[in-house]
């Protein structure tokens, strides 16, 4: 039985008079793959920052494993929780992409860190010698993700990891997260991209106005058109197809939907 890896209890946070978190309770089990969704300004990013001590809650408590986050600095938290910022430029600074990815493990004295493997995994090997600011913004986003993955943290917190990425880059991120899931890493991903959520998450937590508005299995929520509409959302393309074709088993991943569609007899279009 896997225990609780991340626990947030009664967390509140305000930016001046603006209350961003109004009492959050959230548990993530070890190895769980969770997506955090919700409208802009709902408090998603603020909540993730509590997990790595980049923000301190005004009330409530956050624990990661047996660590009280209140007693830790962000650099201590980085040993256990890998955090990829929404804006990659906030975390890149080295003279080359390879040095940027290797920086974290070097600081921790981890000579055996899988720098090369992670560069290959995200397709960054051909640009490894370039300066991070000499590559397009989506590639920088992958560099930021690589610099987090290379630390091999127990918990990954990713803020909008696929925003701006093209399809091939997005597929690399999906594959990287599935690999971490298989290794038992706990992943919390903030995303507006429900297609991506469908590929990587087992559970979806919805935030709205600083509170948790829903917390359901991904397969259930992504097929619930009414619940999604109430949140201003539509099912992802995979679930739209699944609903329209009446596919069995609520497939949400592209591969599952394609598999379920494989028996279809297609009408030829007239020339």
């Amino acid at each position: 039985m896997s225990g609780c890896e991340v626990r947030v209890t009664g967390a509140r946070y305000a930016y001046g008079a603006e209350e961003a978190l109004r009492g959050i309770d959230l548990d993530l089990a070890a190895g769980e793959q969770v997506a955090l969704i919700g409208p802009n300004g709902a408090g998603k990013t603020t909540l993730t920052r509590l997990l790595v001590a980049l923000r301190r809650p005004s009330a409530g408590r956050v624990t990661v494993g047996d660590w009280e986050v209140a007693g830790k600095r962000p650099d201590e938290m980085a040993r256990r929780v890998g955090y990829a910022f929404q804006h990659a430029d906030h975390q890149l600074f080295a003279r080359s992409i390879e040095r940027d990815v290797a920086f974290g493990p070097r600081c921790l004295g981890r000579a055996a860190a899988p720098v090369g493997e992670v560069l290959d995994e995200l397709g960054l090997r051909p640009v490894a010698g370039l300066h991070p600011y000499d590559v397009p913004a989506p590639v920088r986003k992958l560099v930021a993700l690589a610099s987090v993955l290379v630390m091999e943290p127990r918990v990954l917190v990713l803020d909008e990891p696929t925003a701006g990425l093209d399809r091939a880059q997005r597929e690399r991120v999906v594959a990287a997260l599935r690999r971490r899931a298989a290794e038992g890493v706990t992943v919390l991903t903030v995303s507006h991209d429900l297609g991506f959520v469908a590929e990587v998450a087992d559970r979806v937590v919805v935030m709205r106005e600083g509170r948790i508005a829903a917390d359901r299995p991904a397969r259930e929520l992504l097929y619930d058109r009414e619940a999604l509409a109430a949140l201003g959302l539509r099912p992802p393309a995979t679930a739209e197809v699944g609903i329209a074709l009446g596919l069995r088993g609520s497939p949400v991943r592209t591969s599952e939907v394609v598999q379920a569609m494989s028996g279809i007899r297609w009408k030829q279009m007239p020339e």
Partner: protein
């Protein structure tokens, strides 16, 4: 309609680069157009926006060859990273959005009117008194779009303008583009979001390694939607259905 931008064989190379970011691109943009530019990362879509609006090479340096004619008085660009576009001088969102028209020396009521209209279009009136630096990524992106709209550009370039937006806000942003174009603006949008782009585009252009690989009607160019990809993978013969209704029409009994 009034032709606002013409490129003929435009080739642009960034300073210090060993190959051009876009090569031999020809393009016409007229008032009323919503041109969607798509391509993989690094294909040159963002660069094309900068060239079409005159920002490259004037602001970023580099060399441009071929012919470019810009007949617009004002071009506005919304960059892919919205926080780089804040003035850093304005204590509130309303001030930030009014900054552009105010810096043109327009009367105060004109400035405030333009700011209010832009905020209403982007549905951000509720943010008017907020401090720009304390907004979320998605809120900030809408503020920046509104700030560029407030100067009423004749050519509006948007670089992946919904990347940070929640789906409802992204739909809302794309939904206002046809009305902005109809009012006499030429819009050019770079985005990987083919589904939303297909809804609003009047034309589409696909780039690969800086060169135009397809240009024409959105349905022809934006054929890589997720529904199309799934249909292709499941053995559907071409032409691939772009959306669910088209998919259902292709399913036999």
């Amino acid at each position: 309609m009034t032709r606002l931008v013409t490129l003929e064989g435009a080739t642009f190379t960034y300073p210090g680069a060993d190959r051009p970011a876009i090569a031999g691109v020809s393009l016409e943009l007229a008032a009323g157009d919503v041109l969607v530019v798509t391509g993989n990362a690094g294909a040159g879509a963002s660069t094309l926006l900068l060239v079409a609006t005159g920002f490259a090479p004037r602001v970023v340096g580099g060399t441009l060859t071929g012919t470019r004619r810009i007949d617009a008085r004002r071009c506005g660009v919304v960059f892919a990273r919205p926080w780089t576009q804040l003035t850093g001088l304005c204590p509130t969102v309303r001030d930030e959005i009014a900054f552009g028209p105010a810096s043109q020396g327009l009367p105060a009521e004109t400035v405030l009117g333009a700011a209010e209209r832009a905020m209403a279009l982007l549905r951000i009136a509720h943010l008017a008194r907020r401090e720009p630096t304390q907004l979320s990524g998605g809120e900030l992106q809408r503020v920046v779009v509104a700030a560029v709209l407030a100067v009423e550009p004749e050519v509006l370039a948007l670089d992946d303008p919904a990347a940070e937006l929640d789906p409802e806000a992204a739909d809302a942003l794309y939904d206002v583009l046809p009305a902005i174009a109809a009012a006499g603006t030429a819009i050019i949008v770079a985005t990987p979001d083919l589904e939303r782009a297909a809804r609003v585009a009047t034309r589409a252009l696909a780039l690969a390694a800086g060169r135009v690989v397809a240009v024409g009607a959105p349905a022809d160019v934006l054929s890589g939607t997720e529904v199309a990809a799934m249909a292709r993978a499941a053995g559907c013969p071409p032409p691939y259905p772009l959306d669910v209704p088209a998919l259902l029409r292709r399913v036999g009994q």
